[in-house]
Symmetry: C2
Subunit: 348 residues, 2 copies
Amino acid sequence: MDRRVPKKGDDDASGKERPTLKTLAFMTGLGVTTVSRALKDAPEIGAETRRRVQLVAKQIGYRPNRAGVRLRTGKTNVISLVLNTEHELMSFVSDIIYGVTEVIADTPYHLIVTPYSRSQDPLDPVRYLVETGSADGVIISRTQPNDPRARYMLERGIPFATHGRTDMGLVHPYHDFDNYAFAGEAVRYLAGRGRSRLALVTPPLGLTYYGHTVNGFADALSEVGASEVPFNTVSIDQSIEQIRTRTAQLMRRKDRPDGFVSSAAAATLAIVAGIEDAGLKLGRDVDVVSKQSSELLHLFRRELLVVNENFRLAGSELARAVLGWIGGADPGSLQSLSTPSEVLPYRG
Amino acid sequence: MDRRVPKKGDDDASGKERPTLKTLAFMTGLGVTTVSRALKDAPEIGAETRRRVQLVAKQIGYRPNRAGVRLRTGKTNVISLVLNTEHELMSFVSDIIYGVTEVIADTPYHLIVTPYSRSQDPLDPVRYLVETGSADGVIISRTQPNDPRARYMLERGIPFATHGRTDMGLVHPYHDFDNYAFAGEAVRYLAGRGRSRLALVTPPLGLTYYGHTVNGFADALSEVGASEVPFNTVSIDQSIEQIRTRTAQLMRRKDRPDGFVSSAAAATLAIVAGIEDAGLKLGRDVDVVSKQSSELLHLFRRELLVVNENFRLAGSELARAVLGWIGGADPGSLQSLSTPSEVLPYRG
DNA sequence: TTGGCAATCTGTAACGTTTCAGTATATTGA
DNA sequence: TCAATATACTGAAACGTTACAGATTGCCAA
């Protein structure tokens, strides 16, 4: 019997079906292999053939099938951004995402967001990504001096970039904001305004930039001859309420600080509320220098002194770094440090 | 000659290689097909075999290869969140993302973020997703009454959910905040405090919830017998500076409003700044009711009156809706509307 | 005994891509 | 002239999965 099952690309290239290499091969009269190679500018394809194939491909809107490529080559064309989803005012997360997408916009890469919650081991999502081969590159944040995730990925040879540096004697791409410089500038600025008893609202304890910030603060303190008012019970990933209450407590003591350096805008809102709860006035009784990632603090209180940190830039740099590493660049050359702006008072 | 190329899964299951169905087949002594069917609880597999296969699979940590599944079935196990990346204070974006990831966490789905910029046609990213078959489901925001993206996806039969409703007589899943109720409540609350000349800071003009908000505002105005002070030159996706300047201008006129209803927290910061630029005092000269998505407005000014909108919830609902549609549920049953909280003054 | 049928299991092909190992034709060197 | 070699192209196999169309077995009714 002649009953023959008609195969997919058998006849014409008319249909609504998405074009594949087979479609292109049929249209150009070439073999699938040749088409494949022509599209990626392989050397052993004639110049004219190459142009012809590429023209036709463009005309009919050929797009390589990601699943096909991924199955065959293992290349996913995916970058994963690993995020902790249990923090309060993470408005900067969208900035990072936008920064990343900006860079990968004209590449074949997709961005996937891989979440983990506080209760989990931060290594979990990374392990998942690596074990399932779900991404060609990974971006992590909340970096620690001795970061198991970085170590893990380094061991498996999977490209990644960290937001923040590590301190393990291992080299890998990163982007960081110079928090040492930030804290130093803040202290010097406050000293310049006659403030001499300063408190620091630190980053989360385990993270690398905690150390940078604390050191920058301490070094500048001794440089300008100011003193520190310990405020160790507070860090920026505590709740607004906690920070507010503790600040109010602190400000009701006689040995209260006359200046604050705050590592995050959200915490600063709470600090100011606490200061005012204690009946004191910003700018008169106490000055506050804060980092911010969007221009909102000056709307909040004009007396605030701000330093801008650009998270969109961070996202872009991190994406560039991962792509660079994937592309074979030297990891050591993919490190960048962002210098803080000056301390900015409200510009009338 | 006996030179035989050794194939991958030929011998043992020892290696570091990631286990595949072939590995499982070898270990269980079954055929690949049987293993495949056993893992998805197909009926024609013996109960004991099924258990055995699933046990072994769990033991060795088998994870289906996404590329293989996707190539064979067309199922991507991907949800795409389509975002406009050119707006100012989009802090709620991270909330939506977290809400989505919460829901898909214990599913095989990954979340990809697909950006588009203001200059582009909003249909572009959606077209890309559909044409390349890059996602099983799509979530869009900035929904319009007559939304080409919804229409497009409806035509192609690709599951999606919109953040905000459409008004095309077509049924599809959505999640929306009841902005009609919000604006109404806000007006009534202000009227209750003796305010009678109210201005509305609207959502962006083309979006569906612009209409809902405007109608809720207007209907409540006539209900309570208050009047509107037109403020059409301003909407919430303008820049902070523009809103601030125009508010200040408005507040310097003799026929200025004594109450504002604001559709977004970021705009509210600018409104308050404008009010104060004009030398007026919040709570005395004018009251402002504002939506907010995080608890920051009361830190900003205690006199503000807030209504909370939960974007994390929106993300979860949207994800649930898309997954439901993908799972074959009736699109009409996947619509939800979130009721605003009461108007909340600062709770001492 | 035989035929029919349900219950289980299996091999093959296909999804779209790239790599491997070629083949056919033209070009070169002596 | 012949072989060697470069040029331009090609089919088959493989990545891991699922769907299709059987194959094998045991059991029961006739």
